[in-house]
């Protein structure tokens, strides 16, 4: 009977697994890094770059958060959480040693295998950089397997720029270009100001041998895909990550429907060609 109960638990996709907070750190005024490890000390969960987890705070609620850590470090799960509401606020207010329920990982990942041997262009807006960071780790951990890495990143203002130290460190890798822009610069900002598409004129792209991966506000992705096409990237080589309301993450709750797709199980990462007509539909 106990054995049966264990099997049932293992197959119940609704049950969170107990994890413990190992680290919480402030990234920006409203965004936090969160590191979790399994409570029982067992080896953690393997994930593919681009996948997400459902994170549950006792008595508060559960929400989908992209995994932003290094996929080669399977012992722990790292997230970057922007505190925008009750549940995200509760999540980032946890202290080291607190328990967090984790379900997942869920969803499709970025095409890191298919991208081997090619250039990788990453375009991110705001918190959209979080689900793309595992791709950057993957490329830099296996530098020989990939061509050039070009990261175009747009944040609202200088104080909203995520992973500042890492951005600088990534830029020092060979065959790697990191370009950052902000919407509003302020007096002390010496960098580029403008939306992320304005970075394209500084990017050294080889479109014919590139794969592009995009995550950010939908309006950003619409303009970036247009820009990539103008630069000669074929639609087949563009991938985007989508966001919708999500309750179950396994295709039962219906919330994340995007036309015929369920973002939770058919996405969140989609080949651009598959959802291109939908991106232009308002209130879909």
């Amino acid at each position: 009977m106990a054995a049966l109960a264990t099997i049932l638990e293992k197959t119940d996709p609704m049950l969170p697994q107990p994890y413990v907070v190992r680290q919480v750190g402030k990234e920006t005024p409203d965004t936090f890094g969160l590191t979790l490890e399994p409570e029982d000390g067992a080896s953690g969960t393997a994930f593919r770059p681009g996948q997400f987890s459902m994170l549950w705070v006792f008595g508060v609620g559960e929400l989908p958060i992209s995994i932003s850590g290094d996929p080669s470090d399977s012992g722990r799960l790292v997230y970057t959480v922007r505190s925008v509401g009750k549940a995200t606020n509760a999540l980032v207010s946890r202290e080291v040693g607190d328990g967090i329920g984790v379900r997942g990982p869920y969803g499709t990942g970025w095409p890191v295998e298919e991208a081997r041997g090619r250039d990788v262009i990453i375009v991110a807006g705001g918190i959209g950089l979080a689900p793309l960071r595992p791709v950057i780790y993957e490329v830099l951990n296996n530098r020989k397997d990939y061509g050039r890495l070009v990261l175009l990143y747009g944040a609202r203002s200088p104080r909203d720029v995520l992973y500042r130290k890492e951005l600088a460190a990534w830029a020092r890798h060979r065959e790697t270009q990191v370009l950052t822009t902000v919407d509003y610069g302020g007096l002390s900002w010496k960098g580029h100001v403008g939306v992320v598409t304005t970075l394209f004129k500084y990017a050294r792209l080889q479109p014919a041998r590139s794969v592009a991966m995009l995550c950010g506000p939908e309006i950003m992705m619409r303009f970036v895909t247009r820009e990539l096409e103008v630069h000669g990237l074929s639609r087949d080589n563009i991938y985007v990550s989508m966001e919708r309301n999500m309750k179950c993450a396994v295709g039962f709750c219906g919330h994340c429907q995007y036309g015929p797709h369920f973002i939770c199980k058919d996405g969140p990462v989609f080949p651009y060609e598959r959802i291109r007509p939908l991106l232009e539909k308002y209130e879909l």
Binding site: A5, L8, E9, T11, D12, P13, M14, L15, P16, P18, V20, E39, W56, F58, G59, V60, G61, E62, V84, G85, G97, D98, G99, G101, E243, R244, N245, K247, C248, V250, G251, F252, C253, G254, H255, Q257, G259, P260, F262, K265, K281, E283, L284
Partner: protein, 392 residues
């Protein structure tokens, strides 16, 4: 067990003989309920309550809605007395079997705080006894098949749905009359239940008396049928039954032309009819609550005053609410137009891409229970008549 081909043929002949249609006198209907109860099933069937035919726990044939029928129209439902004592002489009530298979409120689990962390208790409700559904209409049988595909057909199985669905015994009742809101014939789901039941019965009330024609649809059904005191069905009875079910098809005044409907709705994402319907739609979500295939849910986390005990509840949700599509910054579908369009396009079009069949079974409940009488068949027709076809 290896069986020679002749052996298999013999078994087949035996099975066909066993499975020949039988006639049960109306006075013996109680024996069907008793047989189900004896086998350990909790019997759920139709009964009259609050001016409607609803599903509830049934202990005897007395509780069935004998002599009642329903009068349905857009935004209209009334119970009426029948001339006879037919127990299944109505079309469909406000509830479908998802009330039991996919409950409106279910506790998924509870948790206790323990030394800074917590322990999850997997204590979602599981049935004490398997359920037997008495009176499953063809449309509702099709709806159960749809929800099977949605909740158990992909990578994950919904443990709650599966726990109620696995082992459930389905007694279908063939329709012999249609409500004004029925359109199953055009959706290809009825009025005759063809498969997916354990036992199907057709109620006949005429000069030859009040009786049921019984047909087994599974081995369990064959076994149960063998326990009942029945007579073999005569050719005459079979003809009468055939005619009675045909009547239910012929009476239907509503229909949806499903030819190329997926592309039709995809191509008419922008169409003035959506504004037209949005001006009438109250976004009350009634249609989604009564729909036998609508499966959307939300979750609610609750805790007690000590803060040491927490529970997660899953509740029916509806794409007609603002919160349904909320992401930081606002709701994706802020207008009534977008929400009605999502519901209807999902039901009739994207459902086909997602689950290989229409999400609409033609039961007509959304028409009857819409407080302003919005009619999905009329909306689909309006788009077909005035929309673009194959232009993209």
């Amino acid at each position: 067990m290896p069986v020679s081909s002749t052996g298999a043929a013999c078994i087949e002949v035996e099975r066909v003989k066993e499975n020949a249609p039988k006639v049960l006198d109306a006075s013996r209907l109680a024996s069907l309920i008793e047989a189900l109860r004896r086998r350990g099933y909790e019997v759920i069937g139709p009964t009259v309550r609050d001016g409607a035919i609803v599903f509830d726990h049934i202990e005897s044939a007395e509780e069935l809605p004998a002599g009642w029928t329903d009068e349905q129209a857009p935004g209209h439902y009334r119970l009426k007395r029948r001339q006879d004592q037919a127990v299944f002489g109505y079309a469909v009530g406000p509830q479908s079997w998802k009330k039991y298979l996919h409950p409106a409120d279910v506790r998924l689990w509870s948790a206790e705080r323990q030394k800074g962390t917590f322990r999850i208790l997997n204590n979602e409700t599981r049935p004490k006894r398997p359920l037997a559904f008495l009176g499953v209409r063809a449309c509702d049988l099709a709806a159960i098949a749809v929800q099977d595909r949605v909740l158990t057909g992909d990578r994950y199985r919904d443990p709650v749905y599966s726990s109620w669905r696995d082992g459930a015994f389905l007694v279908a009742v063939q329709c012999t009359q249609a409500a004004e809101t029925c359109f199953c014939a055009s959706m290809g789901t009825g009025p005759r239940a063809q498969q997916g039941f354990d036992l199907a019965l057709t109620e006949l009330v005429d000069n030859s008396g009040h009786r049921f024609l019984l047909q087994a649809g599974s081995d369990r059904g064959v076994e149960l049928l063998a326990e009942l005191e029945t007579l073999p069905a005569t050719e005459e009875t079979l003809r009468q039954e055939e005619a009675a079910v045909e009547t239910a098809a012929r009476q239907q005044v509503r229909s949806i032309d499903t030819t190329g409907i997926k592309d039709l709705l995809y191509e008419n994402f922008e169409h003035p009819r959506w504004d037209h319907v949005a001006a009438r739609c109250l976004t009350c979500a009634n249609c989604t609550m009564v729909c036998p295939t609508c499966f959307c849910t939300t979750v609610e986390d609750i805790s007690d005053v000590t803060g040491d005990h927490a529970e997660r509840w899953r509740r029916w949700d509806s794409c007609f609410t603002m919160s349904f599509s909320y992401i930081h910054g606002g709701s994706v579908r802020a207008t009534a137009k977008a929400r009605y369009r999502q519901w209807m396009t999902h039901k009739l079009a994207s459902w086909i891409d997602q689950f290989g069949s229409s999400g609409c079974v033609g039961c007509g409940r959304c028409i009857t229970w819409c407080p302003v009488g919005i009619d999905i068949t009329e909306e689909a027709r309006a788009i077909r008549e005035t929309g673009s076809h194959g232009n993209t």
